[in-house]
Amino acid sequence: MKDLVAGIDIGSVATKVVVFHQEKGEVLSQAVSSTGVNPKLTAQEVLNKALALGSLSKEDIRIVSTGYGRRCIDFGDKVVTEITSCAKGVTWIVKKGGLSPVRTIIDLGGQDTKIISLDEDGGIRDFVMNDKCAAGTGKFLEVIGSRLGIAVEDLAELAERSTQKITINSTCAVFAETEVISLIAQNKRIEDIVAGIHSSIVERIVNMIRVVGERDSIFFCGGGAKNSSIHKLLEKRLNRRIYLSESIDPQFVVALGAALN
Amino acid sequence: MEKAKVKRPITLLRHISQITFFIFIVFGALFGLKKQHLSLLPFIEAPKEYGEYKSQLRQEGRNIAIVGPGYPQAFDTFLPIKSCRFLRQTGTFRACFMHFLSECIGWATPLRLVLPHVLLFVILAVPFGRLWCGWVCPLGFIQDTLNTMRKTLGLNPHSLSDRIKKSFRGISYGLFVSIILLSVISAVAAFPWTLRKQVYLSICQMCPSRFIFPYLGGWPIVHSFIPFGYGVFTTLSTIFTIFLGMSFFIKRTWCRICPSGLLLSVFNRGGLLNKEKDILKCTRCGICLAVCPLQNENVYLEKSHIKKNRMMELKRDRNIDHKACIHCFRCIDFCPEEGCLKVKFLHIKIFSSRPH
């Protein structure tokens, strides 16, 4: 059994690779790139990038793939789903950071939002994902951002400057877009609209948490965890502290979890 | 080849039991079986002084077979069923418990003689409750036979509405109370003799068995409508016999008002013989209710939302015993869900429903 494992998380937006030394228990290198239209090729490139960063060779490592494109690649040794990976990754991070055990994970991804409920040992007790519709996912932000002509990364900052509360009623991304257009027509401030979009996502997430039951501690990861506004709104809404990954970039958590296999 | 399967084994068994007991009880004497041979307890002799009424009646020109205090026979009780003492010629058992009670009160029999019989009744009734009605009682068998005749003719059955069912239950209580009251009246010396002799042993006077069994036993009795008191009771017994005859359309009509059954039904709930229903396995198909001869909704409603909300308990096996249940176990025999309905004796499972 090789100790060096590369976890490849081929998501709908970005492909992430983490190379992990299982015996030493440390992350050797990581790389990310947007997935594009050819996930297999992208995965190969990102993996090479990560290997180059850690000056490693492909022969020494095992490859575990996860995410949407987990079955696209033909050079993997094992396939796991992102839910299992995410739980593993978070459990590892929490243990390393010496935090209290996490029982609920919010993984806000590009196309899917997952709420995972863990038991005491870090095993998955229950999980929910959004259905086919994009409500409450990163996609929602992306759609609205592109409609407003704002990059996804800048949305959080904009939202924090909001002064007036706007409620977006539609949960569907397509309908919400229409709603935003009418809000613009009403001369509402962009900041307020963006904040409204954020609270809409948070509401959706909170509903999903309710399904599995909210239990302490709550951990927030996935690409969406980079958005500080959502994090703050969630804390405020759930009225408790929500942990973020500190030792590793939130979007690598799933890839790290895969590498722990 | 698979063995030929009996589709309804319990019902078959019950029919066999019914027929056997019917022959045994109604015609047992023909095979040399007399009550005296089987008696567990001594007979209670009627007080001698009442013998004089016999001759008095003779003087009045009455046939001695008219029920009344002119017929001071030794009496006792054995099985808690409805047989008849007018089965003198052919029957094995001659008395039902209601007759015994009525007679004891009428004669003011001392308690020390009565108690052993009551104890025997309780010993037989506690474990089985109204099982006697469903499996042993010859009157029950006659009603079932009438119903079978209707089935064979292909005529539709008639079911009773809730209101009528409830009023029947009321009649059964009324009947029981009036029988006891009339027996007391016949025992109290302060009442005039003409009244006392007419209400004496009122249970036998109005019982439909008085119409049925003597004819079966080949010893028909005279049904007198005179004087007035006898007339009332003979009319009543005629009505009850017609009522029993209605079990051609309505299953077990007499059982719904039978005072003996009422006594037994005290031991139906909380007795040793219980029926339980696993409410998870029950699919609420309604077969149990449809096949119940007494239309006991208990067997079905035990799963309904009305009861569930009231009880708010999560117990899975629910007791489905009912006052009127005669333990014919048809519900269990017909229930298609494996292990849904169970019969328990002393909380030990005896048998349960199975698919067929």
Binding site: Y68, V80, D131 | A290, H305
Partner: protein
């Protein structure tokens, strides 16, 4: 005078009284359901491409199934579902002036249909390809089963084209309005289903409805439903139920001798096929399966399938689940186990008792969410979970089938209290979300294997 005498006699005789009152009701109920004064004029055209696509989808299902070693007897069921054998048989039957009667849902008493010498065919459709044509008439936001069924009729596919009559119970809103629309294309009778299923008023209403149906069927087919015929058909269907029950129980075994897709395939062949042949073949299949039971192993997760109906060829979710390594060992689908599970057990063979037994069987044990209360369904699920040793529950939801969706919350809570894992799959007949479903199901199975 004579009238009063008859009245008096009737009053005395409960049977006469009953027969009289039911007759009055029957005469009242026999009018047509729809006035049809404003007919609609759909313009859907038959498109050969659709049939091609349909065949492709079916072929794909079969390919996936053929990857496993399966009992020999299954080829018969595949043949009935995928070829036009049965359709041709029905055409012949039609030439002999037997009526073909289409039915929807699980509430139309097939005993009555067989007793008047007609042939019932269950029409609930699972074809994605026929959805698009139906959207000309029906709104987009309506359950795919309704759209698929209407589309199949608009295109005149197979069994739909053969039906002389369609009987639809008023279950969900979709079915209700489907009746009105279909009535423009083929005669439709609606069976009025009570919304509550208690033994008080609802049972009586439904019983009258069944009586009326008998009367109408006699008129429609010209064959009298005599007591003997009714008894024969009850016994025939009882036999079918017994065989089905045998097959159902075989799935308790670990590993189950048959997978969920094959089981549904068998059940759904029963929608269309000749009942005698189906009984005979299934009998044979059960014998075969019994001889090939394997010793207990620590095998794949055993799942219970519940929720909205899954109908051939829409085996998308089932394919994903069973390809991912789990087996569906029990189901609570109206298109599966619930279709054949309950027997008709008349108290006695009199007319009234038989009809009542039939009426009760179709109404009372139903777990359809169109009734006001869901406890029966939950009880059924819990008892199946126990009986079949279930590891997890798969809740299949068709988008825009609100009834199953509404019951989801309660059921999730009940299962959570009992620590039984459940996964909800929200989907429709289309193929576009296969990857998303795969992720969910694989994650669910990983979760089960780590428990």
């Amino acid at each position: 005078m004579g009238y009063h005498l008859v009245r008096a006699l009737e009053f005395l005789c409960p049977v006469c009284r009953m027969a009289d009152s039911s007759k009055e009701k029957i005469i009242k109920g026999i009018e047509e359901e729809f006035e049809g004064r404003y007919p609609i004029r759909p313009i859907a055209e038959r498109d050969d491409k659709i049939e091609e696509d349909l065949a492709k989808g079916i072929q794909k299902n079969l390919e996936l199934l053929h990857r496993y070693s399966r009992p020999d007897h299954l080829s018969y069921y595949e043949e009935i579902l995928t070829t036009s054998i049965r359709v041709n048989e029905l055409k012949l039957a039609k030439e002999e002036e037997r009526k073909i009667i289409g039915i929807f849902c699980n509430f139309v008493p097939q005993e009555l249909l067989y007793a008047c010498d007609s042939i019932p065919v269950r029409l609930c459709a699972g074809t994605y390809e026929t959805i698009h044509p139906a959207e000309e008439i029906l709104p987009r936001d309506i359950c795919p089963l309704i759209k698929s069924s209407l589309g199949a009729k608009l295109l005149g596919l197979g069994y739909f084209e053969l039906c002389d009559l369609v009987i639809i119970p008023t279950t969900c809103d979709g079915k209700k309005k489907l009746g009105e629309i279909l009535n423009n294309l083929v005669p439709v009778w609606m069976l009025e289903l009570p919304q509550k299923k208690d033994i008080g008023s609802a049972e009586g209403l439904w019983f009258d409805e069944i009586k009326t149906l008998r009367e109408r069927l006699q008129q429609f087919t010209g064959n009298k439903i005599t007591g003997k015929r009714l008894r024969d058909s009850i016994e025939l269907l009882h036999k079918r139920q017994e065989v089905f029950y045998r097959l159902h129980r075989l799935r308790r075994h670990n590993p189950p001798p048959i997978n969920g897709r094959d089981f549904l395939l068998i059940t759904q062949t029963g929608f269309y096929d000749d009942i005698d042949r189906w009984i005979e073949k299934t009998e044979g299949l059960c014998d075969e399966l019994k001889h090939h039971l394997q010793p207990a192993t620590h095998s794949s997760p055993r799942l219970l399938l519940t929720g909205a109906p899954i109908i051939w060829p829409n085996y998308k979710v089932l394919n994903i689940v069973e390809e991912a390594g789990a087996t569906i060992v029990a189901d609570e689908l109206c298109s599966g186990t619930q279709f054949l599970y309950e027997p008709v057990e008349p108290d006695e063979w009199t007319d009234e008792a038989m009809l009542r037994a039939i009426a009760n069987r179709y109404l009372l044990p139903s777990t359809c969410p169109c009734f006001i209360e869901s406890s029966d369904r939950i009880d059924r699920l819990l008892s199946l979970i126990e009986e079949f040793n279930i590891d997890g529950v798969l809740y299949h939801l068709l988008r825009l089938c609100q009834l199953y969706d509404i019951e989801l919350y309660r059921i999730r809570q009940v299962l959570k209290d009992r620590n039984i894992p459940m996964i909800t799959i929200h989907t429709d007949y289309s193929q576009e979300d296969i990857e998303q479903i795969k992720t969910r199901i694989e994650a669910f199975l990983e979760m089960l294997s780590n428990r």
